[in-house]
Symmetry: C2
């Protein structure tokens, strides 16, 4: 099929204004936020407006053996939504509506292109929220971040900053509130999805209990666009809390941070966030945000690790009591001081923490990893990271969701081979602790090599055979996750 | 293979004392608690003691094309663990240990045969619990329950009453605390499982975030023993709450109950249970337990529906305030009165509610269903149940997890055809409301006919092809769920 035929066929399906064909492609649609995945040029980018159009597109792609790459807002960090040469990018930018809001059921039905920010803005008047809070790319950008040339859309379209719900489903996004509220798969209760042959299926529904057949909703969540194209997401919402406080706690050692977090959780205080930020990262994110936290000079001098705890409660009285108990617990654990941050500063710190990725990028990081281990093993993992960094001539800095063991490391080592060796050893060590290569970013293309090398071949084989049930011709997001054929 | 050869082969695998061969089978092992599934006699019941033995058993069964039926403690309600003629029952009665308890991580690793009660007893000294609380079969039996002759093991072995964790995994058990704590799939983070060819795989792990390949843990949860045999379960635990209160609230109408529940949940009070009990059911369960709730005669006379709310908090002061706010909310919603039950009475009411199934069974119920619908649709569903009962000459009574829309109905209609017609119409109506046939009991054999008749054929086809990936020869729990071939 030549380019004209291709364009005409796609226009027939999604309408003339929703098709762009190479070379007239918008560069914004051609990458995600992976730090080093090479970008291939697809034949076209389409912006379907309905499930019926997605279904027609899949049927057409199957008939012509054309690969399809689903794309939300492109905030992924693993190369999972980057295009394939010869393929078509299916952007959900137009399918971005809140379709239904069932207030009594605390259920929302959304299209995959809606962002977390758009969704939560629509929910706010009802004192509801979608509680999953994947941080890295949800904040607004600081002015002093050194953007890659092709990422210019960020300052231009700040409204697009959040990840899309469809992207969240595809990676099982987690984020900072997982310690209390869980991750995407705990809040997505139903999907509409288009199979590669164009069949539309609905899995699950607006119910929070289900024991009626294999849970295909859960199978699709985290499948990185390789099994089906998600066209509708049914979400379980939570009431917002009226009162909250953000507590910043400097500690002399990381060990003290990781020791106190389990006791905070065991206390029943139910923190919404328990974030660990190392010294280098704290400086980078506060500098980038020009943020003054008010930590006294002598405390700052003795600090090597910061803990940030967020409490949320129904009543002000409860918050006060919880804060007192938390402060006592922190003091007993050796905290150098405890700062309850003022609302504005607290919000800016969380936003700055969300921007950690951009700070690392601006500082020239060569990779971002998000290994997850049992929370009691975070010290071991970070110790190994420091040791391996030394061995491989690299710098590794980090922060992490210390309540759930999901550690975000920025790796600075420009030599691909040395960095690869470091990461291989680090992933292998994380796995030996009972962990996994990615807690929330996904495997995509960037982590494919260590994932396939370090996983049980029996599990890879099972997954590949499940993939073949859904997409035997490898048309949906090929060359990602399980598919290690050389990309064209 | 003749019976002697079979016995010798099985003894070789699991040891002589762990094999029973027909006709010398323990009747306790030959059924679950389905009210009307016919029982078939298997060729043998084996009690493996280790994963290695389960693996050897699967390899042997594959080589000889012998069906295997996994069995926990046999408390299922859908005929999902009842034996197959010519097959072998794999009982996990000996694989019932708590293998590891990671206190800092709030993680437990258990064998599938451990019961909820055994697990929670082991956790209690650590102020931890596994918060999923599937009710029906977890309570101890009242003396006046009319047991089926072959269920005699209950009074004899009261320690076995609880469901097993393995059974909970296979049905994605839910229960009374789901409104706050979710269901089995929200707390199971890893599995060890044996594939039908004897391969042992480990999915997930002791981490609460994961984005590293298809989530096979979630696929196995709720698969009713048809994909693999689960040999180890890794669980996420929760801290216990120091303070709790159980509130009994009589209402004049069911509509008032279903109207107030969303507002309680929206308030942020985070109730651990919100149970609806109809008048007939309340009388049956309190009579069975000789329980006096202290509801005054005039209130009782005006009541048609009871709401039970359980609050759990970290501090006593918070519980007092929460109770005041709850009482105000209930009064505003038209509650006839509000009783905070004394500890002993509260525990006995919850236990009696757990025994609803036995009360219904004693009263001669012909079926138990657990349709789930959005919680705002519970009134519609119960209205339809009343109407359909009238049309089909039946009596339908019920109670339900009204916070999550999971309604338990006892159906009294001895004529199989009329009952089947009633249930078909009721299931179809539940599905039209966005619900599903089973919220927590599973499909098994009992609900197979309506499930297959009322589901999207594309979804059934996908599931059958996934089944073929795991078990192409239909050896794992055949004739259940998706497999509607006539049983031998």
């Amino acid at each position: 099929m030549d380019d004209d035929e291709l364009r005409d066929a796609l226009r027939e399906i999604v309408g003339p204004s929703a098709v762009a064909v190479a070379p007239d492609l918008n560069p914004d649609d051609l990458h995600d936020e992976s730090l080093h995945a090479p970008t291939a040029t697809p034949r076209a980018v389409v912006h379907p407006g309905s499930t019926a159009e997605v279904a027609a597109l899949c049927a057409w792609a199957s008939a012509h053996a054309v690969p399809l790459t689903a794309r939300g807002s492109g905030t992924g960090l693993s190369g999972g939504a980057s295009p394939v040469r010869g393929g078509i990018v299916v952007s959900f930018s137009r399918m971005n509506r809140l379709l239904r809001l069932e207030l009594d059921d605390h259920v929302a039905v959304v299209q995959p292109g809606i962002t977390l920010r758009e969704l939560n803005e629509a929910l706010r008047p009802h004192a509801l929220r979608y509680p999953v809070h994947p941080g890295e790319l949800s904040g607004s950008l600081g002015g002093n971040v050194n953007l890659r040339p092709h990422a210019l859309r960020y300052p231009v379209h700040p409204g697009e900053l959040s990840g899309s719900l469809g992207g969240n489903v595809n990676t099982n996004a987690g984020g900072m509130r997982a310690v209390r509220h869980g991750v995407t798969r705990h809040h997505v209760i139903g999907l509409e999805a288009v199979l590669v042959d164009g069949t539309v299926v609905r899995t699950g529904g607006p119910v929070v209990k289900l024991s009626s057949g294999y849970d295909l909703t859960q199978l699709l969540i985290g499948s990185e666009g390789t099994l089906a194209l998600v066209t509708e997401v049914t979400l379980r919402l939570s009431p917002t809390f009226a009162h909250s406080a953000t507590v910043l706690v400097p500690f002399a050692t990381l060990e003290e941070v990781t020791r106190v977090v389990p006791s905070i959780i065991a206390s029943g205080l139910e923190p919404s966030m328990t974030e660990y930020i190392d010294l280098v990262t704290m400086r980078a994110i506060t500098d980038a945000a020009s943020l003054e936290l008010g930590v006294s000079a002598d405390v700052a001098a003795a600090t090597t690790a910061y803990l940030v705890v967020v409490l949320e409660t129904r009543t002000g009285a409860q918050l006060e009591r919880d804060l007192e108990d938390l402060a006592q617990m922190l003091e007993d654990a050796g905290a150098l001081d405890t700062y309850v941050l003022a609302g504005g500063v607290a919000r800016r710190l969380i936003e700055a923490r969300e921007r950690m990725f951009w700070a690392a990028k601006a500082a020239g990081a060569n990779d971002i990893v998000d290994i997850v281990v049992p929370r009691s093993k975070v010290v071991d993992l970070l110790g190994a990271a420091t040791r391996l960094a030394r061995e491989h001539g690299a710098i590794v800095t980090g922060c992490g969701h210390v309540g759930d063991g999901n550690v975000h490391l920025s790796v600075f080592q420009g030599d691909d081979e040395r960095r690869r060796a470091l990461l291989h050893d680090l992933f292998a060590y994380g796995l030996s602790l009972g962990g996994a290569i990615s807690g929330e970013h996904g495997i995509g293309r960037d982590k494919q090599e260590p994932y396939l090398a370090l996983s049980d071949p029996a599990l890879i084989d099972l997954q590949r055979r499940i993939k073949a049930v859904f997409d035997p011709a490898h048309l949906l997001n090929p060359y990602r996750l399980l598919d290690d054929r050389p990309a064209p």
